[in-house]
């Protein structure tokens, strides 16, 4: 019987506490932010869309290797002597840039914003920004090209390198031929010297056998 009235008392008192709270809440300022009009100030390095500072990128491909979904595509071309990458040829920390980055695409449709690509970068030039509104109706739009060389320039650089490589190849071949010739010559001269030596050797061998 005591229990019975205790239950009633508990019900009434707890309900009144609850209703009191909700009633008070009604007159409090709402915490909602009217998003498109009002915005929160996000931290600068919020984990959202990536940005690559191409001035500093040395094209080392570390980020692409770290990416778990392989959404970074990097294509590089070696620099030929006499040419510089970008304006200065060095990063802001003074590292020498040895590769032209002809293609640096990040496919944000695939990217899972895990930030794993950010840490391995030796020059800290790939980082996340607070931009998060970039949805689109077309997936191709989400493939962001960061390389500062245009496709034509890229092709030009490739051609230059190909030419240079060819030249080098030629040179190498030349060198190889020369080397071969030299070797042949050496061999020849050696061969001329050899017979006498050989004889001596065979002689000594036979000597050994006999003894």
């Amino acid at each position: 019987m005591k229990e019975y009235f205790k239950h009633i008392y508990q019900t009434v008192s707890t309900i009144s506490i609850g209703m009191n709270i909700t009633f008070k809440q009604m007159f409090q300022k709402s915490v909602t932010i009217q998003y498109p009009e009002q915005r929160l100030q996000l931290p600068e390095r919020e984990r959202n869309r990536l940005f690559v500072n191409m001035e500093d990128c040395i094209g080392c491909d570390q980020c692409a290797k770290a990416c778990p979904v392989s959404c970074i595509d990097i294509e590089t071309v070696k620099v030929i002597p006499g040419d510089v990458v970008g304006k200065t040829g060095v990063t802001s920390q003074g590292k020498k840039k040895a590769l032209h980055v002809t293609d640096f695409t990040i496919d944000f449709a695939k990217c899972c914003y895990c930030q794993l690509c950010v840490f391995p970068c030796p020059t800290e030039c790939i980082y996340m920004t607070d931009v998060f509104e970039f949805s689109s109706f077309n997936r191709d739009v989400l493939k962001y090209q960061f390389a500062d060389l245009s496709p034509e320039q890229g092709a030009e650089k490739k051609e230059m390198y190909a030419k240079y490589a060819l030249e080098q190849e030629e040179k190498k071949k030349q060198a190889a031929i020369e080397a071969a010739a030299k070797k042949a010559a050496d061999e020849k001269s050696k061969a001329e010297e050899k017979p006498a030596d050989e004889k001596k050797e065979t002689d000594s061998k036979t000597d050994n056998k006999e003894s």
Partner: protein
């Protein structure tokens, strides 16, 4: 209202078709804005803003929602009973709406002044159960059927405390006509039945009994309208949406209309029985406030206040379990109402 309409249109069929029209208009507008109010109040209670994109304060929200629902296709589930499936929402709504016939909006505006108004009200509104069970059965969906069966169990058992707590007033007034309850409470706020009704000083004894009766009537009508914390019918987390699952478009909206119509109907009954109905709280002090137009305002004010309390409760309490629901009804509400009834009987015997 009957008198006015017969005066205007004569005693023809047209009169009787026209009488429900203003009430229907009121119910539709009420249902639309009660949905909005529900959303707004819930938002405020949760420190949100609520609908505010349509019009300035989201005033058009539910109207546009309704328009959207009208456009939607009504899907008949395979192997459902088409006729019953389509009929059920209308039965639910009709049952809820028929209750309005006896609600005294003021001393002159009421559908019909039945001499068994209260009795009629309780019997006709509980007919909605048939519609709900029909919907649950015809949907050919186990969750629907579960929901419907729960509703039936719930409503049938809560009929008892509802009726018993209302009978307290019936005993004191000796009438079943809704208008007479309001008439019996004339003369200011202290003559309302929540404060013991008109009478001499001994009525003070009645006050606690009456307050308890109001609370019990409120709780049990809450259960009858399937509002939280008694919304086991819908129970989103267990039954997805109960009987609403298979419904779409306007049929779905019909259920909502019915729910909100019922909310106001039961609030109106509580207001009439205990809160003075259309009586102004100032009684005869300011006779101007007791003219028919103001009476409507008083009645609506009281009804809407109770609707607000329903909404308020909904956003405060979690849903009860089915065994708790039944325990509450059979172990607490019914015995207490019976004791109330006995005490009021004793009071009548001694003081009247």
């Amino acid at each position: 209202m009957e008198n006015i309409f017969t005066q205007w249109f004569g005693n023809s069929l047209l009169t009787y078709i026209l009488i429900p029209v203003p009430i229907l208009v009121y119910v539709s507008v009420f249902a639309l804005y009660a949905v909005l109010a529900e959303r707004k109040v819930s938002a405020w209670m949760q420190n949100r803003i609520g609908p505010n994109r349509t019009d300035k304060f989201g005033l058009l929200q539910t109207i546009l929602d309704g328009l959207k629902l009208v456009q939607k296709e009504i899907v008949n589930p395979t192997r459902s009973d088409k006729l019953y499936f389509r009929m059920a929402p209308f039965i639910v709504f009709t049952a809820a709406f028929m209750g309005y016939a006896v609600l005294p909006f003021s001393s002159v505006f009421m559908g019909v002044n039945l001499n068994i108004g209260l009795f009629y009200f309780f019997s006709i509104t509980s007919l909605g159960v048939v519609g709900v069970l029909m919907a649950g059965w015809a949907s050919n969906n186990k969750y629907s059927l579960y929901g419907a069966m729960r509703t039936v169990a719930q409503i049938v058992s809560y009929e008892i405390p509802t009726a018993l707590s209302a009978i307290v007033v019936v005993m004191l007034t000796g009438t079943l006509s809704m208008n007479n309850y309001a008439l019996a409470q004339s003369g200011g706020i202290f003559n309302w039945f929540i404060f013991g009704g008109p009478g001499d000083i001994y009525k003070i004894i009645l006050i606690p009994i009456m307050v308890i009766s109001v609370v019990i009537l409120f709780i049990s009508t809450l259960a009858e309208t399937n509002r939280t914390p008694f919304d086991l019918t819908e129970a989103d987390s267990e039954l997805v949406a109960g009987v609403h699952i298979e419904y779409s478009g306007m049929l779905f909206a019909m259920f909502f209309f019915a729910e909100y119509a019922q909310m106001f109907a039961v609030s109106g009954v509580i207001a009439t029985l205990f809160l003075g109905g259309w009586q102004s709280p100032f009684g005869d002090l300011i006779p101007f406030l007791n003219t028919p137009v103001f009476q409507v305002l008083w009645f609506l004010g009281k009804g809407l206040f109770l609707v607000f309390v329903q909404i308020w409760l909904r956003w405060t309490l979690p849903r009860v379990r089915i065994d708790q629901l039944m325990t509450m009804c059979w172990k607490y509400l019914i015995p207490i109402t019976l004791v109330n009834l006995f005490l009021v009987g004793l009071y009548m015997l001694i003081f009247k």
